[in-house]
Every structure is written in structure tokens, then in C-alpha cells.
């Protein structure tokens, strides 16, 4: 067994994986993954397509059980899905309310809902159905719902992958702003190494299927989102690409 970040493992993490393996039939998808996540850490996970990132998040969320190994959670986790997890028969506002059902007073519930929609810049779309929204707007609503759910950990599965480049840049700023107002522990799966380098406290690179831990990287300790052209980002991008098998010939 290899335990990376032993210190963090001991320092009361909010989510830990210990020697986790997962297979579907004879297909090994995840092999001996061990790592843990600190409270309010922003952990990015990058890896080739089909390597098992979504599977990893399902294991973290408890939607499936690992073949072997352990997943430890200290509290609730909420997922922002890769392919859209809003309930299409509920309006954007009603979807957010799903997370606020436990608040008994109607007025407080409405206030919390309005606050969350405001936070993600969707205040005007409370009564709109998901199919009437753009992909980026849907992802904002999903983010608002997850934030309203007041869980310690948010699992985000390529949340910005459907967005165009400029919107994605904007959403990175937004996410940092939102997290400064509503601190959360984030597990952020992405294809975009630049995004990982700009946003994350720590980046984990997974190998092709079966996913194993290939590289762990701390892009820097500066203010996020780190400047796109800054040394921390460009340097980290290079290292991440190399770990993913993309040699940079420049």
C-alpha cells in the first residue's frame, strides 16, 4: 500500500480513498488509488478520456461501492454531474429548492433560493425550465443547487466542459468568487490542464485506464485564479501535459 500525503491523511481529511480498486466485469477501471482531501481544499483531477474519473467521483459520492479498498467521508457530498443532473420537470428555482426542503419557513426558503441564484448570476431564471436554458446556465443552476445543499464537499465532473473558451474563463473567476463567499471542499474533474493549473490547490494526474496515480502537483500558493500567462500556470501546464504523455516540443 502506498499512502501519499501521509501528513494529510492524519490531519483529519474530509474525504479519503484507501487502496481503492474498481472493475466493471473484467475491465479494471481504477487500481489502488489512495489519496485524501483536506477541508476547503480545491483538488483537481485530470486524466485521459475514459480513464475512470467519473467512476472515481461515483465512488466518492457513494453511488457505487469499490471492488476493494475503502472510501472515507466525514459528511455529505453533492455531485455536479458531467451530463446534466437537473430534474427537467422542475424549474431552475424548484431544482435549487430541492436542496432547501428542510428549511421549514417558506420565507426563509425563498430567501435562500434567491441568494443562491444571485450568487451564480441566475437571479432572473428562477421560473425557467432546464430545457429552456443554455448548457452554461444549466451548470450554474446545478452549482447553485449544490451550494444550497450545504454539504461540505462538492464533486464537480467537468462542470465547464460544455462552455466556450471565454465563458469558461469567466466561470473560473466566478467559481473562485463564489467559493470565497461560500467556502467548500472541491473535487474538480477536468480535461483542461490550464483550468486545473489556474484553480487548484493541488492537481492529481491519473493514468489511462485502469486509473492509477501518476503525478501529484501543487501549482503554487498564489491568489486564484492564477494569471493565465503567469509562471505558475505555464510551468504547471507543461508538467501536467508531460505527465499525460503530451511532450512539448517548443
Amino acid at each position: 500500500m502506498t499512502v501519499s500525503n501521509t501528513a494529510e491523511f492524519l490531519a483529519d481529511p474530509v474525504l479519503s480513498l484507501l487502496d481503492v480498486c474498481q472493475s466493471y466485469g473484467s475491465t479494471k477501471v481504477i487500481e489502488n488509488l489512495t489519496f485524501s482531501i483536506r477541508k476547503h481544499e480545491f483538488l483537481a483531477i485530470v486524466g485521459p478520456s475514459g480513464c475512470g474519473k467519473s467512476t472515481l467521483l461515483r465512488l466518492m459520492a457513494g453511488h457505487e461501492l469499490p471492488l476493494s479498498g475503502r472510501v472515507y467521508r466525514t459528511g455529505k457530498v453533492l455531485t455536479i454531474t458531467q451530463h446534466g443532473g437537473l430534474l427537467p420537470w422542475l424549474t431552475a428555482g424548484e431544482n435549487v429548492e430541492l436542496a432547501l426542503r428542510k428549511i421549514p419557513s417558506r420565507r426563509e426558503r425563498d430567501a435562500a433560493k434567491a441568494q443562491m441564484l444571485e450568487l451564480v448570476g441566475m437571479a432572473g431564471s428562477a421560473n425557467t425550465y432546464p430545457h429552456e436554458l443554455s448548457g452554461g446556465m444549466r451548470q450554474r443552476i446545478e452549482l447553485a443547487r449544490a451550494l444550497a445543499g450545504s454539504s461540505e464537499v462538492l464533486l464537480m465532473d467537468e462542470p465547464f466542459s460544455a462552455l466556450d473558451y471565454l465563458t469558461r474563463l469567466q466561470m473560473r473567476n466566478e467559481l473562485v468568487r463564489i467559493l470565497s463567499e461560500q467556502p467548500r471542499t472541491i473535487v474538480f474533474v477536468t480535461h483542461d490542464v490550464e483550468e486545473a493549473a489556474q484553480l487548484a490547490d493541488r492537481v492529481i494526474v491519473l493514468s489511462a485506464r485502469p486509473a492509477t496515480l501518476k503525478l501529484e502537483l501543487i501549482p503554487g500558493d498564489d491568489v486564484r485564479p492564477r494569471p493565465l500567462t503567469g509562471e505558475n500556470v505555464t510551468g504547471s501546464v507543461k508538467k501536467l501535459l508531460r505527465a499525460l504523455g503530451m511532450e512539448d516540443r517548443s
Binding site: 454531474t81 430534474l87 430541492l98 430545457h131
Partner: protein
């Protein structure tokens, strides 16, 4: 010179639904909405006129076919005797009870079948067997058990639509995307909340279609049931017309049955206009 055609105008369905692909790309002279309103009555009138002409010119044998005018006359007679409204009410009542009973029992049965592989494993073969059994096969029992009147017709309607309703609901429940169940898990929905916040709304758009199909079958079956085990109702009226060799009334009752069938279907189809069901009728427009 290259002529550019404007293709983004004149979509009668509105912007968020792609206009049907038209090879020619020309815009229609009459908007589809008006055309669909005007064309069917015109075609009907033409058909009736042709029918009357064929009758007057003796192309249609007078002993085998009534004329449109005879049918109108028969309709007036039927209205005068008050039998027609009574027959309509009797048939509608039987369909309403049989339909309601089949939904009240078929919806939960379908949800149970769709939610649990164990329930499916036990009951699916039996349901499939009964679904494939023509309801008319039960007529012999229906008369012996229930005599003549409302009960045998209701029983036959139930036997014809309960199983298809349960089976189609079960297929729809089993096909609910797992991501919605996970949302329900993560946000801690109770069993009851899951039912009315996830399962029921998720199947509702398809359920409207199931209801339309079931109503169509029920309306067919009630006529057959009343012909053999009725003392009133539209099916019995048809049976009566046949025995009395009243072909004019036969046509009157056929028209009434068809029109009511269409109206019932229209009514059920209007449920699909509900805004909470719209997601289920959208074409992907990514």
C-alpha cells in the same frame, strides 16, 4: 447570379422547435395551422357529396348502402327518441369506470414492476400472458359472472387495458435515467418524495401517450362488450340497428362512436400541454 432564399421565417412552431426539413425550401402559401383546420372539413364535405352522387346514380346499391340524406334523417329520429344521449352516457360511464379502475391499479402495479427486478421476475411472465390474451376471450365468463349491464363491460375494459398500462408504466419507470435517482439520493429525498418528485414526473410525458392508447382500446372494447352483454349503450345500439336492418342508424352510430373517440383522445392529448411535461416533448436542440 446566386439567389439567396430566406429560410428562417415562417416557422409556425416558433423558434425553439426546428421547422421540418423541406427539400424545396419554399415557404408555404397557407400556414400549416390554418390548413389543418380547413382541409379536413373540406375533404369530408367532398366525400359526402361524392357518396350522395354515387347513391343518386345507383352506383351504390340502395339495399346495401344508405344515402347521406337518409343518415341525416335517421339522426333526427334518433334525437327525437332520446335514445342517443342515453346510449352515449351509458357507454361513457362504462369506459370512465373501467379506465379509472385500470389506472388506479395499473399505475402502482407498473411502478412496482418497474422499480424492482424481483417483482418483475415474479410477475412479468403472467402480465405478459394476460396482456396477449384477447379481452374478447373473457366474454363468456363476463356474462356468467356479471350478467348484462355495466359490470361485464367494465370488466372487459379492465381486462384489456390494465395489463398494457402496467407494462408500459413499468418499462418507463425502469428507463428513468439513473442520474435522477442519484440526485434523489444526494438530496436525501424520502421514499414518498422520490415517488412524487422523481418517479411520477419522470414517466408523465410517456404516461400521457399510454393513456391515449389505453383509452383508444377501451373505446373499442366497450362497443364490443355492449354488443354481446348490454341492454343499452352505443355498442348495443349498433347491435340493435343490425337486427332491425337500419343501415342509416348504423352509420349514425358509427359516426357518433368515431367522433367521441376522437374527442376523448384530443382531451387526453391536451394534458401534454402542461408546462411541467414540456421537457418530455422537446426535440434535442443543442
Amino acid at each position: 447570379m446566386v439567389v439567396m432564399k430566406q429560410i428562417d421565417a415562417g416557422n409556425p412552431l416558433g423558434g425553439n422547435r426546428p421547422a421540418a426539413y423541406r427539400a424545396g425550401g419554399s415557404s408555404p402559401i397557407i400556414p400549416l395551422r390554418i390548413w389543418s383546420l380547413v382541409a379536413p372539413p373540406i375533404l369530408t364535405l367532398l366525400f359526402v357529396a361524392l357518396w350522395q352522387v354515387l347513391f343518386n346514380t345507383n352506383v351504390l346499391s340502395h339495399t346495401m348502402f344508405p344515402s347521406p340524406l337518409q343518415v341525416v334523417h335517421g339522426f333526427k329520429q334518433e334525437l327525437a327518441t332520446h335514445r342517443l344521449p342515453e346510449d352515449i352516457v351509458a357507454s361513457l360511464w362504462r369506459v370512465a369506470v373501467g379506465f379509472a379502475l385500470s389506472i388506479v391499479l395499473g399505475l402502482p402495479a407498473g411502478i412496482a414492476l418497474g422499480s424492482s427486478a424481483y417483482v418483475r421476475g415474479a410477475f412479468l411472465p403472467g402480465f405478459n400472458f394476460l396482456r396477449n390474451l384477447s379481452p374478447l376471450a373473457w366474454i363468456g365468463f363476463a356474462i356468467v359472472w356479471f350478467g348484462v349491464g355495466d359490470a361485464p363491460a367494465i370488466f372487459l375494459i379492465f381486462m384489456s387495458i390494465f395489463f398494457p398500462i402496467a407494462l408500459s408504466v413499468s418499462a418507463d419507470v425502469a428507463a428513468i435515467p439513473v442520474v435522477y435517482q442519484r440526485v434523489a439520493d444526494e438530496y436525501g429525498l424520502s421514499k414518498f418524495e422520490r415517488l412524487y418528485k422523481v418517479t411520477l414526473p419522470a414517466i408523465m410525458p410517456r404516461f400521457v401517450t399510454t393513456l391515449r392508447v389505453a383509452m383508444g382500446v377501451a373505446w373499442l372494447v366497450v362497443v364490443a362488450a355492449e354488443m354481446v352483454a348490454g341492454h343499452n349503450g352505443l355498442g348495443f345500439a349498433i347491435y340493435d340497428d343490425r337486427n332491425a336492418l337500419r343501415q342509416d342508424l348504423l352509420v349514425v352510430h358509427m359516426i357518433v362512436i368515431g367522433v367521441i373517440g376522437v374527442l376523448l383522445d384530443r382531451y387526453l392529448a391536451s394534458f401534454a400541454k402542461n408546462p411541467t411535461l414540456q421537457w418530455g416533448f422537446q426535440r434535442q436542440n443543442l
